[in-house]
Symmetry: C2
Subunit: 510 residues, 2 copies
C-alpha cells in the first residue's frame, strides 16, 4: 500500500501517442484530435481540473490524473477509442461514478480516462423474464426509480449510488447480499469492449437466461475484473420481485459476541433474512449524531425481512426467539416505511457519519470477510486493536464530543476515535472505517499497517482480504498471500492473454 | 454432432509416450510402467474391457476408449500423473462416475483416463460455516448421507448420483436450482491440478467464504470447464439448512401453455418454490408405467416447497390461487415423506421411464434453456415437431402399448413415441429425450438434426443451447453460434493459455 504516500510517477514514455511535454499532459496534439474525431470535441477534456477530478475515487489513494478524459456516447465510440489507444500504446482507464474505495481509477501510468456516464440508457426491460439491460451510466438508484411501477427491483446495494456496470466491474456487494447475492450472482451477460476494440458479449449477444453450461464462464471472469480486461459497455441484470411487505428492526446487544452469535443462529434457523448488518457502539454513536437516531450506543444489528405479511410475522417471531437465547438485548421494530427509510439512510450514511466524528479526517476502509464461525473472534480482536490505537492516538487530533443517548459504549468516545466498525455480517464481512488525519504521514502509515494486519488475520482464518471493494491499488500484496503463487500466476496469464500490452487500467489488481 | 457416426480416429502419433502398436493400446511399455510407479500397479489398467468402460458416458456418443485408465488415490499422485502425461504429450481425460450426457469422457485422441473415484474422502465439514470439502470420488448422495445428522444438505441435484467434482466440472444444475442455484452458485473453492501438474486453489488454499472480490474469479472459470483446463481434485461446497418441512404436489393442466403460464406467475408472485418441474403427457404416461404412479396423462407440473409449516401453508395457498387463475387443473398434494419420495423418484427415473417406452432404444437428450417469457412458445413448437416426427416415424420401431389412466395425451401414444419432454421450467430449461434406434443411422441423423434445430430455436429466442449438460463433443458448432466469433476466440485464448499443448480432455468444448 506504499502508493498512498508515493508521488505520481511522471516517467518517460516511448509511446507514440505521447510527447515529452504537450499542452495536453503527455498526449500529442494529434492524438487528442484523434480522440475528438471519435467522440466529438465537447466530449474530450485535457483541462487540469477535469483530469484531477478523474484521478481519484473516494479512497485515500492519492490523485493520479489521466492525461485526457473522454465521454463516449455509444459502444461504437468506445470500440474506436480502445482501438486508437491500444494501437498507440496509451493506457485506458474506465470511469463510472468514481465511488470506488481502492483507487481503481487512479491513472498510475497516465493515459485516457474513459468516462462512461453519458451512456445512460436503459436499453431493454423484460419484466416477465426478470431482466434488464443497462448502459454503464445507469446508476443503481436510477434503475430502481425506472422500475418503480413494474413490481421489480435490483437489490444489490453497496450504499453509494454507483453505476451498475461499475458495480459489475468491481464485483460489488452490499447490505442485501445475504438474501439476493452479489453482482456475481446477478449479472446475466456483459457487453465488453476488449483492449483492441473488439466487442465481446460474455454470454452471447442478446442472451438473457439464468446461467448456462455453454463453454467457459466469461461473464464470471469479467465481473470483478476491475477494468483490467476490458471496458464494460452494457450489463444484463437479473431483477427480483419487489417484496410484498418489509419490516426492519434494530437490536442492541451487550457484547459483540452476542450480536455475532445471534447472526449465526438466525442463518442456521434458515430465516430468510434480507439484511443483517452489524454496527459497533462507536458507529452507533456516530449514526445517532449524524442521522438523528435515538438508538442505544451498543453493538447493534440492523435487520430487514422481506415477504408476505404472514411470512414476515413468522420471520420476526423466529428471529426474536433466536436472539432471546443469546441473552439480554433491546429490540426495536420499524414497521412503517418512513421509519425504515430513516434507519437504512442512517446505515448508508455510516461512512459520512464516521467522518463527522473527526472533522477534517479522511476515511480508510478495510473490507475483510471470514467464515462466519470465525467472525466474532476477528471482530473482538479488531476492536481490541482499535481501542489500543485510540488510547495511544496522536494528540493533534480533535476530540469527539460527548456520546448521545447513554449506553454501553459511550465512555469509549472520550478520546479521538480512530475508527468505526460496520458490516454485512450475514456474509462474514465487515469494514473498519479508520478516521485518519491526511496531514499526518505517521498516522497514514499506521492505518495502512492496521489494514494489512487485519487482512492477514482474515487470511489466517480462511477468509479474504476483500469481499466487495476489490483489490485496486492497495491490496495487491494481500492478493498474492490470499490466492498463492499459482493463483497469482494464473491470474497474470489471463491478464496477459486478454491484454497483452498491459494497457487496460494498468497497475490494478495484479 | 457428426462425431456420433464417425469411427474413432486411430491416427499416427508422434508423442514420445506412444508406440505404433503396443500391448497397451498406443502407449509404450515404459510409459505404462511410469504410470504404475506413480499410483501403484493395481491402480493402472490397459485391459480392453476397462478402457471401453471408460470410453463413453450415458449419451449416444460412440465409445472412444483411452489407452490406459489410472486410479490415483491422492492429489500428489494426480499432480505427478499430469506432469508425466503433459511432459510426454499424452492426452489426459478426467473421469468421475461417467454419468455425463455430452460425451465429455470420450478419449477422442486416446490418452490416459484419470478415474478419480478412489479419492472419496470428505476432507472437512464446517457445519457452522455451511461448508464442506470433498474429494472427487464423493457423490451427491454420499455427501447427503454423510450430512444426515447435522441439519444441512447439498441441494444441487442433476438426477444421476454424479460425483460432486464432476458436477462442478460440467456446471451441473437440476431440479432444485430455481431456489438453491446451480453448481456455479454453490462451489466456494476448487483444488485443481493444472495440465503441467501444478496445484491451484481457485480461491486460495483453505478458503471457504462466500464470494470475494479478490482478483479474477478463477473458481467461476473452472466450474463448467469440462475437464479442459485441469483436473478438479477437491471442491469446497456451500451447504444449506435442511428445510423444517417439505410438501410436494403434482398439477395436471389442459395445455402446455397453462402449465408454463402458471410457472411464470408463481415466480412473479415471489413464491419461493424449491422445485418446479414440467413433464409432458408422454413423459407422464411413461412415469405412470415405469414408476407405478397413477397421475393424469396430461402436461403436468411437479412442485415442491420448503420452509416452516406456517410458511408452507402460505406457499401452497398462493400457488393454488395462481394456478386456479390459469384455468382448470388437477392438484394433488403429497404431504407424506413416502408419497413425496415416490413422486421424485419417478421424476428422477424419467430417463429410464422414457427408455422403457421403446425397448432397445437409446436416449438422446437435448438441453436448451430460454428466458421464461419464451418458454411456452418453444415448448409448443417443439411438441409439434415431435408429433410430426412421430407420425412419420420409422416403421421398424416397436409401438408403445396403450396409455395408462385415460387423459388428455393418451391418444397421442398410439404410435411409437420418438420423445418425451421434461424440464426445470422455473429456469426456462427443458429436455427432449429422443428415443432413438441405435441401429438406424437415418434415425440417428434425424435426432441430431432435431437437436440442432431445437438448439438454434433456443438461440433465436435469446436462450442457450445447454443449460446443464455442457458442450462436450456434440454442441461445439452451437456454442460458436451462441457466443459468437469473439466469444469463441476469447475462450480459445483462455484454453491456449492454461493448456498450451491442448492435452487436457482434447476435442471437448472448443
Amino acid at each position: 500500500m506504499a502508493n498512498l504516500l508515493r508521488p505520481a510517477t511522471w516517467g518517460l514514455f516511448s509511446w507514440r501517442g505521447y510527447c515529452s511535454r504537450g499542452t495536453q499532459g503527455r498526449l500529442s496534439a494529434g492524438f487528442v484530435e484523434a480522440l475528438k474525431a471519435i467522440v466529438g470535441s465537447p466530449h474530450v477534456s485535457t483541462a487540469a481540473v477535469v483530469r484531477e477530478q478523474h484521478g481519484h475515487d473516494e479512497s485515500m489513494h492519492m490523485c493520479q490524473p489521466p492525461d485526457a478524459v473522454v465521454w463516449p456516447q455509444n459502444v461504437e465510440q468506445v470500440s474506436q477509442l480502445a482501438a486508437l489507444c491500444y494501437g498507440q500504446g496509451v493506457p485506458i482507464i474506465p470511469f463510472g461514478t468514481g465511488s470506488g474505495l481502492e483507487g481503481g481509477v487512479c491513472a498510475v501510468q497516465g493515459g485516457v480516462c474513459v468516462n462512461l456516464i453519458r451512456m445512460d440508457r436503459i436499453l431493454e426491460l423484460n419484466p416477465e423474464d426478470f431482466s434488464v439491460v443497462v448502459e454503464p451510466g445507469v446508476t443503481r438508484k436510477a434503475l430502481n426509480t425506472h422500475l418503480r411501477d413494474c413490481g421489480l427491483w435490483f437489490p444489490v446495494d453497496p450504499g453509494a449510488d454507483a453505476s451498475l456496470c461499475g458495480m459489475a466491474a468491481t464485483g460489488a456487494s452490499g447490505t442485501n447480499s445475504v438474501r439476493y447475492g452479489t453482482m456475481r450472482d446477478n449479472v446475466l451477460n456483459l457487453e465488453v469492449v476488449l483492449p483492441g476494440g473488439r466487442q465481446l458479449h460474455t454470454a452471447g449477444r442478446g442472451r438473457r437466461f439464468w446461467k448456462s453450461a455453454a463453454g467457459y464462464n466469461l461473464t464470471g471472469l469479467f465481473v470483478g475484473s476491475e477494468g483490467t480486461l476490458g471496458l464494460i459497455t452494457a450489463a444484463t441484470l437479473r431483477l427480483h420481485p419487489v417484496p410484498e411487505a418489509t419490516v426492519a428492526a434494530t437490536c442492541a446487544f451487550p457484547t459483540i459476541q452476542a450480536a455475532v452469535d445471534s447472526t449465526v443462529h438466525i442463518l442456521q434457523a434458515a430465516v430468510p433474512v434480507a439484511r443483517i448488518e452489524f454496527l459497533d457502539e462507536v458507529m452507533m454513536d456516530a449514526c445517532n449524531r449524524h442521522s438523528k437516531l435515538n438508538c442505544y450506543v451498543a453493538p447493534t444489528l440492523f435487520l430487514e425481512f422481506h415477504g408476505s405479511e404472514q411470512a414476515l410475522a413468522e420471520q420476526v417471531q423466529r428471529t426474536e426467539e433466536v436472539i432471546r437465547h443469546n441473552g439480554d438485548s433491546h429490540f426495536s421494530w420499524a414497521k412503517e416505511a418512513e421509519e425504515r427509510s430513516r434507519l437504512w439512510a442512517a446505515r448508508h450514511n455510516a461512512w459520512y457519519a464516521s467522518l463527522a466524528l473527526r472533522p477534517g479526517c479522511k476515511g480508510y476502509s478495510t473490507d475483510v470477510c471470514v467464515p462466519i464461525s470465525r467472525l466474532s473472534e476477528i471482530l473482538v480482536q479488531t476492536k481490541e486493536d482499535l481501542e489500543a490505537w485510540r488510547l495511544t492516538g496522536s494528540a493533534s487530533l480533535p476530540r469527539a464530543p460527548g456520546a448521545g443517548r447513554g449506553g454501553a459504549g459511550a465512555a469509549a468516545l472520550s478520546f479521538g476515535p480512530p475508527g468505526t466498525v460496520v458490516g454485512h455480517v450475514g456474509d462474514g464481512n465487515f469494514h473498519c472505517i479508520l478516521l485518519v488525519d491526511p496531514e499526518d504521514p505517521e498516522e497514514l502509515l499506521r492505518a495502512q499497517a492496521f489494514a494489512e494486519q487485519l487482512g492477514r488475520r482474515a487470511l489466517a482464518l480462511h477468509g479474504t482480504c476483500t469481499r466487495e471493494h476489490g483489490i485496486g491499488l492497495g491490496k495487491r500484496q494481500l492478493l498474492l498471500e490470499e490466492v498463492g503463487v499459482v493463483g497469482m500466476e494464473t491470474m497474470r496469464q489471463l491478464k496477459a492473454t486478454l491484454d497483452p500490452r498491459g494497457l487496460m487500467n494498468p497497475g490494478k489488481v495484479l
